[in-house]
């Protein structure tokens, strides 16, 4: 690391001739000698770099080189939910966000596959038991398109930010948004959001569908505090 060691006689002269203006440089001289002490002090922006005295961190520290993408994430669960094999999962992480059109049909196929499994086990023609347009009004191809081609969090700078709160949708993701229940509901909840929600529809005290739209857990005893918002680690 480059250091800035000034001749000691400058300090000596400044100290001795206190009635002689040494200008602003005298402050620099004192601070500059800390630029190699291994500690971030003074107005340094990093350890021994930046601020008014030391070499800028961007050049004092090695940030050079090419960096190549290994993982990517927009909305929660997309890769693990809608890609069905290791190759596609890896490819999805390495694909440009603007170049994921090829995944839309795969996602649509996957969505239908889940429902076909359901149909097959019931002895129903898979053509008769498909994904049902969800509570956002998205049919299967459109839902798959949205998931694959726009896999980012939409974040509103002027408005409520939430993944879905019953009123607002797709304007952000808070820490306590129940993204699992939202995702399950969008996939299996149908137009009303209650298609397979384990409800008792005939009043006999027994659920008449499996519970597929909620995993039954919520934010629990977590707390969203001030910055950095996530809690102190569990011990």
């Amino acid at each position: 690391m480059k250091t800035y060691n000034f001749p000691i006689y400058i300090l000596t002269i400044c100290a001795a001739l206190t009635f002689v203006a040494c200008g602003n440089d005298d402050d620099n001289v004192i601070i500059q000698v800390t630029c190699d002490d291994g500690v971030q002090n003074g107005d340094e922006e990093g350890v021994d770099c930046g601020g008014t005295a030391c070499e800028p961190c961007a050049t004092a520290i090695d940030f050079s080189g090419d960096y190549t993408q290994e993982d990517a994430m927009g909305r929660p669960g997309i890769n693990t939910v809608f890609n069905d094999n290791d190759g596609d999962k890896n490819d999805f992480n390495l694909a440009l966000h603007a170049d994921r059109a090829s995944f839309a049909q795969k996602f649509d196929d996957r969505l239908e596959f889940y429902h076909d499994v359901y149909a097959a086990s019931l002895g129903i023609d898979p053509a008769d038991l498909d994904y049902e347009t969800n509570i956002l009004g998205l049919d299967a191809p459109t839902f798959a398109f949205v998931l694959a081609n726009t896999d980012a969090l939409q974040v509103a700078p002027n408005g409520t930010t939430t993944y879905f709160d019953g009123v607002n949708a797709l304007t952000g993701r808070t820490i306590n948004d129940d993204v699992i229940d939202i995702s399950l509901t969008l996939m299996f909840g149908g137009t009303t959001g209650t298609r397979f929600d384990g409800s008792d529809t005939d009043g006999d005290g027994m659920p008449d569908t499996p519970q597929l739209t909620s995993d039954g857990v919520d934010f629990g005893d977590r707390v969203v505090g001030g910055f950095p918002y996530l809690e102190t680690p569990n011990n």
Partner: protein, 239 residues
């Protein structure tokens, strides 16, 4: 066959088919990246306590068990964590915020227009740079400069999901009920940790927000959704 039993079997089969797919937000999402220092666990983006700010949080290397695993977890100096912000709706990053570890600190560059977009890039050292000492479990370090706050360190995993029940469901052990009702379900992640990078940025630094993509695509009527940035996070490794 009683309806409940019928649906129960079906539910079990359906969930079995989906055995691997709702295990996480992005934790351990693909074999190429699972359990590496670049594995993204989660992304959050929301309005800050200051309503003029947006908060971006990326978590990586999760889940971490408490104790030595969390204490010894470290950000990788060869991996840059990059928030990507699209200002015009084309899903190409117009601004980036990059976080990379050097020594005991996290250096955060941006928001800055990247010199290169896409899969390969560089650390944008021409942009504004701020740094923060990496926190430990009992030593919170935050830097706030020019209205922008940054943090890096271990945190409790904010993701919640009944993963054990899910495994029991897919094994058939708990058919026909499916997921448990509230109060009986158990959150697999509640005692686990992650490494987190939190950045709170004045919206004025993030540029304009485009028409919400769902409106632009004609899926929702004009005015139904507010203008919104498109935000995603990537991890990139030094070559």
């Amino acid at each position: 066959m009683k309806k409940m039993k019928l649906f129960g079997v079906v539910g079990g089969v359906l969930l079995a088919s989906a055995a691997f797919f709702l295990t996480s937000a992005d934790h351990i999402d693909a074999p190429g990246v699972a359990s590496t220092s670049s594995d993204i666990a989660d992304l959050y983006a929301f309005e800050g306590d200051n309503p003029n700010n947006t908060v971006l949080i990326a978590t990586v290397q999760g889940p971490l068990t408490p104790g030595d695993v969390t204490t010894n977890a470290e950000f990788d100096e060869d991996v840059v964590i990059q928030f990507n912000i699209d200002n015009d709706g084309d899903f190409v990053e117009d601004l980036v915020i990059q976080a990379v570890k050097r020594g005991d600190s996290m250096y955060v560059f941006g928001p800055v227009v990247p010199t290169a977009v896409g899969i390969t890039g560089q650390i944008e050292t021409s942009g504004p740079m701020r740094s923060v000492r990496i926190s430990t479990s009992d030593d919170l370090q935050v830097t706030t400069e020019d209205g922008m706050s940054i943090f890096a360190g271990p945190r409790r995993d904010g993701f919640f999901f009944d993963f054990n029940r899910f495994n029991a469901v897919i094994s058939g052990a708990v058919a026909p009920e499916g997921f448990l009702p509230p109060g009986e379900a158990s959150d697999f992640f509640e005692d686990l940790n992650v490494l987190a990078v939190s950045v709170e940025v004045p919206n004025a630094m993030l540029g304009p927000a485009p028409t919400h993509v769902a409106v632009a695509a004609g899926l929702f009527p004009e005015g139904a959704l507010p203008d919104a940035y498109n935000v995603w996070v990537t991890t990139k490794r030094k070559q």
